[in-house]
């Protein structure tokens, strides 16, 4: 009896010690990522907000001070709304903003139209084929994104493989102009992001209960009707997840319009890049970023948040 009592005491001691470590030790776990992301992800937006109220200046770094301390220790604050006014007056920003939404929307739709049948066929293959197909779809993702866009250029440029083949076949007599067109931008986005659409769609379709389809057809549903009434609604989570994975990177895309697009393919990412590297107007670039964030990223983030919230409850 005494022996058990003794172990009980040490056990309890150990437990209280553990409790102590756990109560304070958990900050050792929480603080490093919290502080790091706070300093290097969140604080940058505060600086961007501050600099968006500054004015461009010929110095290093190229913007004026927003606040300064005068010799008599008074804080001097100069907020310039000129950058935001400029965004509203120069129509290139509104145009490129809407153009980005349009391009991202239609390329997402294209990805969905191509990706859905692909995912559907994958989900219906035998288990062994499915795992091979998964590898085949994932593999391009691990190679470089930039090199893949460059590889696409090799196919669609004026003397590229596609034109050579069509000329050789006699289908066309003059090379098709694909590079530097809107079509090339769509092609580039679909080519780059198709795997992101296929994978979540496949994941939901693969789990789909086939007996539901059988039930539908037993009840006299035609295959097409059964697809619209049963399969499509049940695969909606995959459709939404895949569309988000394509739409979000597509809207801020820089590389694809810059390498494949023409001068009219003014997506907001490209305008931002030029504002920064060609015009060296950092305050305007900061203002464009803040506006982009409020008008676009904010709504998407809120939507994601509520969607995840719905799933949890």
């Amino acid at each position: 009896m005494a022996a058990t009592g003794a172990t009980d005491v040490t056990h309890r001691q150990r437990r209280s010690l553990r409790g102590l470590v756990e109560r304070h030790g958990r900050w050792l776990i929480i603080l490093p990522p919290l502080l790091f992301l706070f300093v290097f992800f969140l604080i940058p937006f505060c600086f961007a907000l501050k600099i968006s109220f500054a004015e461009a200046a010929l110095r290093i770094p190229p913007f004026s001070d927003v606040y300064s301390v005068t010799p008599d220790h008074k804080l001097h604050l100069v907020l310039s709304l000129a950058n935001y006014k400029y965004l509203l007056t120069d129509e290139v920003y509104a145009v490129s903003y809407l153009y980005s939404i349009k391009t991202a929307f239609f390329s997402t739709l294209l990805c969905l139209l191509i990706g859905y049948p692909m995912a559907y066929a994958m989900a219906r293959a035998s288990k062994a084929t499915q795992s091979i197909l998964m590898l085949v779809i994932i593999l391009p993702f691990w190679t470089s994104f930039l090199l893949r866009v460059y590889a696409l250029e090799g196919v669609i440029r004026d003397n590229g493989l596609l034109n050579d083949a069509l000329l050789w076949l006699g289908v066309i007599h003059e090379p098709l102009k694909i590079m530097r067109t809107t079509f090339a931008v769509y092609l580039g986005i679909v080519y780059s992001y198709l795997p992101f659409m296929v994978l979540p769609l496949y994941a939901t379709l693969e789990k789909l209960d086939l007996t539901l389809l059988e039930a539908a057809s037993d009840l006299g549903s035609r295959p097409w009707r059964a697809f619209l009434d049963v399969t499509l609604p049940l695969s909606m989570p995959g459709v939404i997840a895949g569309s988000m994975l394509v739409f979000i990177p597509a809207i801020g895309e820089y590389v694809i319009p810059a390498l494949l697009g023409g001068p009219d393919n003014l997506m907001i990412g490209r305008v931002l890049w030029d504002e920064f590297f060609a015009n060296h107007d950092w305050p305007v670039a900061a203002a464009v970023s803040i506006a982009f964030l409020v008008l676009l990223v904010g709504p998407i983030a809120l939507h994601q948040h509520y969607r995840v919230g719905q799933h949890e409850h």
């Binding site: 559907y120 066929a121 198709l194 920064f276």
Partner: protein, 276 residues
Amino acid sequence: MESRSSPFLISVLCLGIAFLYLPMAVLVGYSFNASAMASVWGGFSTHWYTELLQNRQILGAARLSLEIAVLSSTGALLLGTLAAVALVRFAKFRGRLLLTGMVNAPLVMPEIITGITQLLLFVSMLQLIGWPTRGITTVVLAHIAFCTAYVTVTVQSRLQTADRSLEEAAMDLGATSFQAFVDVTLPIIAPALLSSWLLSFTLSLDDLVISSFVSGPRASTLPMVIYSKVKLGVSPDVNALASLIIALVGTCVLVAGYVVRRGERQRLAEAQSAAG
């Protein structure tokens, strides 16, 4: 879900896969073209590969990118795992909502915005405290920030499904909570840790936009060098480089796929023998 597909579905799948692979196959083909002109086939040659191996600019950039990728993916693995443990294991703590937001936001943030804002931070920090100078340090810091998000999300979902009672059993047998985590849970989430490290490594190695903003004049990463070459038109040594990368990644993915499948089969066999 297993049944026969219509010919339509199968042909879309095949065409889709062909669409994904054709450009890469063409690129590999061009890399063996003796002619520097893309439209002319000048015969088979490995000339561009020897040229590539003598190109100091590309080799230097590749080395720099690999260093950055190793440092950032390792940093992101550490921070992301801590964040995942915090979010899964601690139901309530001050800053939980903030951490959740900061972990998920990079996933919906356009790279170009992250790049610009981080550059503005680094420039302002340099002005205020004299650190960090733009270059390898700033690129690594920026990459850790966005890779941490991917690690957290991956590890978090694995940790949520891990059986907590095993750890409790270990603690009842006298292990401290730290020991129990390291000895019991860590091996369970190890595949998720490995895959998120690899994911971060790839994302960091491939990043052009964020690096272009936060890097300094003497630290051009591989994507930055490739981009400046590609922007000027066709560049045969980039073809050779791309082919090498495709071959390397292809081998790695195939080996990884084989290992995973073998592991699954083994686990299945063990489960069956245990049940029998």
